[in-house]
């Protein structure tokens, strides 16, 4: 049995179900309780779980992120909501210096089973400080896992996996996806989606397109357009950046011989550059051209609507990249 629900409902269901299952799980963040969530992701959770488990904080990201890391060291399983991952930068020390390194620096004594979640990427004309795509910055750090769900099914299944995971998980949502809908199993069905297993969102034989999260919409739009010209793209949803499912990507590239990576972070030192470098090494004999890359333009995110649209990856740029690498330009 399935029903159609919104992305935000999927995340809430996952958190609520896990909180019913495990008393160690709690949610903390700005406006998560009495306000019902700045983006209504946690709507109703205060009523069900009370203020001890759905905890409002002041605007104090470094403080409450650090607090939750301490709580995780003690064996609790905190979910930290950042209203936006853009605000995580003031909490860079706890989330980068403490959470992913605690297990290593303590020689295996203290892990950090924490989930940090929130909106990532450009929202809509928010200007540069509020439009961070942190996957480029943070995926560089070993010790944490990074998840970018595309649809409600994955959002729920991967959130449950994240909460049950013994390692710190950075869960990157998108404000632009929260109202999108999708088929999700009924609440009685306790399903999870494993990390490190990519999903083929559209099958094709001519060129592989790899992406994560919201830009997959632009990839699918581009694939649709290219199909009209007889170029059949295989669109792969990587789902998690750490762990990265290179096997699925390689299998596809071996078949198509061409690849374009679409990554909404800046190009310099990014998941896109990492995948391209890996493919150039691992698929050298199967590639008939370089690995194409579509990123956000190498500028701060602008406010003006037209400039912002041109700054981000979009279907036009993806089509151009596919045509270029497949010698169809």
């Amino acid at each position: 049995m399935t029903r159609e629900i919104e992305f935000r409902d999927a995340i809430r269901e996952a958190m609520s179900e896990e909180m019913r299952r495990d008393q160690r799980v709690f949610l903390m963040g700005e406006e998560v309780a009495q306000y019902n969530g700045a983006y209504k992701v946690s709507k109703g959770m205060l009523d069900e779980f009370g203020p001890r488990r759905v905890v409002d904080t002041p605007i104090s990201e470094s403080g409450f992120a650090g607090l939750c890391i301490g709580a995780a060291m003690m064996g609790l399983r905190p979910i930290v909501e950042f209203m936006s991952w853009s605000f995580s930068l003031v909490a860079a020390d706890p989330i980068l210096n403490n959470a992913p390194k605690m297990l290593y620096m303590s020689g295996g004594q203290f892990g950090c089973p924490i989930v940090i979640r929130g909106n990532n990427g450009a929202g809509g004309q928010l200007g540069s400080t509020h439009s961070w795509c942190v996957e480029g910055l943070f995926s560089n750090v070993p010790g944490m896992k990074m998840v970018m769900p595309f649809d409600p099914y994955d959002a729920k299944g991967m959130m449950k996996t994240a909460i049950r995971d013994d390692d710190p998980v950075f869960f990157l949502e998108s404000e632009r996806l929260l109202s999108t809908k999708g088929e999700v199993p009924s609440p009685e069905e306790d399903y999870t989606v494993p990390f490190g297993k990519a999903k083929i969102r559209r099958a094709g034989k001519d060129c592989t397109i790899v992406s994560f999260g919201r830009p997959l919409y632009f990839c699918l739009e581009a694939a649709e357009a290219l199909a009209k010209d007889g170029i059949e793209c295989e669109v792969i949803d990587g789902r998690t950046i750490r762990p990265l499912d290179l096997d699925t990507i390689i299998k596809s590239v071996v078949k198509t011989n061409y690849c374009v990576v679409v990554d909404q972070s800046w190009s310099f030192g990014s998941p896109g550059s990492e995948i391209a470098a890996q493919l150039h090494r691992l698929c050298f004999d199967h590639l008939d051209n370089y690995v194409g890359r579509v990123h956000s333009e190498d500028v701060p995110a602008p406010y003006a609507y037209n400039l912002e649209q041109e700054m981000l990856p979009n279907a036009r740029k993806i089509c151009e990249a596919v045509r270029a690498v497949t010698y169809n330009a």
Partner: protein, 364 residues
């Protein structure tokens, strides 16, 4: 120190504490001697290049770690900054594991992966050694959040534990410190922020770096929590002044802030020539050596024979010498350790996690 015109012993005006058992005082003295001797040997080992990186010794501050932890129950959590050897030893870590960690050996408390600034001991509720100034204070609030949550939300009882979050006076100026105090006050967390106020953040005197540096308890007022000034150079006074703070935090499940007046006899780290303070100032504090002071009290007030003290000193020296030998003999971490303890889960190049020898042995 520019603004701390009075020495630590003069700031404490309370009368002598009620008479504690001689055995308790002897144990404290032994613990303080152990830290002192351990640190002396660390300095030697550092000179001999057996210890790498940064190394911050605790000489002069021994009464703080020993006296504060004495006021706790064994399963009350503590967390501290990078000058952490003293806390590890005071909490009961075997000095051989502490020394082996400094030597970068597999027998270290963190298998040689943390080093001097990052001592962890799960068995003794020590949640680190943390290297970034002030970063441990929100974590300390989180430990208290968790103990309270476990006792009250999960077990439906009363909050039972008190967390000590140690920090230096330099951390008073970090944002993380202020955020932690605000959250601890808001959430009624049973955590005591123990400022080991030695008057200097590296080479910067407190008067140069901290507003209201002459009375840092003013910081606590803004966050609505109790505070106290404690003599960190006299363990008997410290215990008498600090124990009620712990008891109240436990009883009320509220945070507190303690200004512990102390002094580090050595430099900030091994590479510090201490040009920023006078020899006279150092000598004033050295005359208040917390170890000498307790030994004198034992000999004068408890008729403790000098020979027993000499014997204790010898035992401690032997123990630390044995620890150095043990750490020397401990193998370097095998290369496979590079990829263990990155993730709990085993995937890709990562080999899962395992406990250090220090804890494995205790489990068997």
């Amino acid at each position: 120190m520019a603004t701390m015109t009075k020495t630590a012993s003069q700031t404490a005006s309370s009368p002598r504490p009620s008479r504690l058992p001689a055995e308790t005082l002897q144990q404290w003295l032994r613990d303080m001697l152990l830290i002192r001797e351990f640190e002396v040997r660390c300095m030697q080992a550092y000179q001999n290049k057996k210890i790498g990186g940064f190394c911050h010794v605790y000489i002069g501050q021994e009464a703080v770690a020993v006296g504060c932890t004495a006021a706790l129950k064994p399963d009350d959590p503590i967390i501290t900054a990078y000058r952490d050897h003293g806390h590890a030893l005071a909490r009961g870590m075997d000095p051989k594991h502490c020394m082996a960690e400094m030597f970068g050996k597999i027998g270290g408390c963190a298998k040689g992966k943390g080093g001097s600034m990052h001592m962890f001991d799960k068995e003794h509720w020590l949640f680190g050694g943390h290297g970034i100034v002030g970063a441990q204070t929100p974590l300390g609030a989180g430990l208290a959040f968790a103990t309270k949550y476990i006792d009250e939300v999960i077990h439906g009882g009363k909050s039972k534990k008190v967390t000590l979050a140690f920090l230096g006076d330099g951390a008073l100026n970090q944002g993380a410190f202020h955020e932690a105090l605000n959250l601890a006050g808001l959430f009624d967390l049973p955590v005591i922020f123990c400022v080991e106020n030695n008057g200097y953040s590296m080479g910067t005197a407190i008067s140069r770096g901290t507003t209201m540096g002459h009375d840092i308890t003013s910081k606590a007022i803004g966050y609505g929590m109790d505070s106290a000034v404690v003599d960190g150079m006299d363990i008997l006074k410290l215990y008498e002044q600090f124990k009620p703070v712990v008891d109240k935090a436990r009883e009320t499940s509220r945070p507190a802030f303690v200004d512990i007046r102390t002094y580090r006899f050595k430099g900030h780290s091994m590479s510090d020539p201490r040009k920023y303070r006078t020899k006279e100032e150092e000598q004033t504090y050295e005359a208040e050596d917390p170890i000498d002071r307790l030994a004198m009290t034992l000999m004068a007030d408890y008729e403790w024979p000098r020979e027993t003290y000499d014997q204790m000193i010898k035992e401690v020296r032997d123990q630390v010498r044995d620890s150095v030998e043990w750490a020397d003999a401990s193998p370097v971490p095998p290369i496979e350790e590079l990829y263990t303890d990155v993730y709990v889960e085993e995937w890709g190049p990562y080999k899962g996690t395992s406990l250090p020898e220090m804890l494995k042995k205790n489990q068997s």
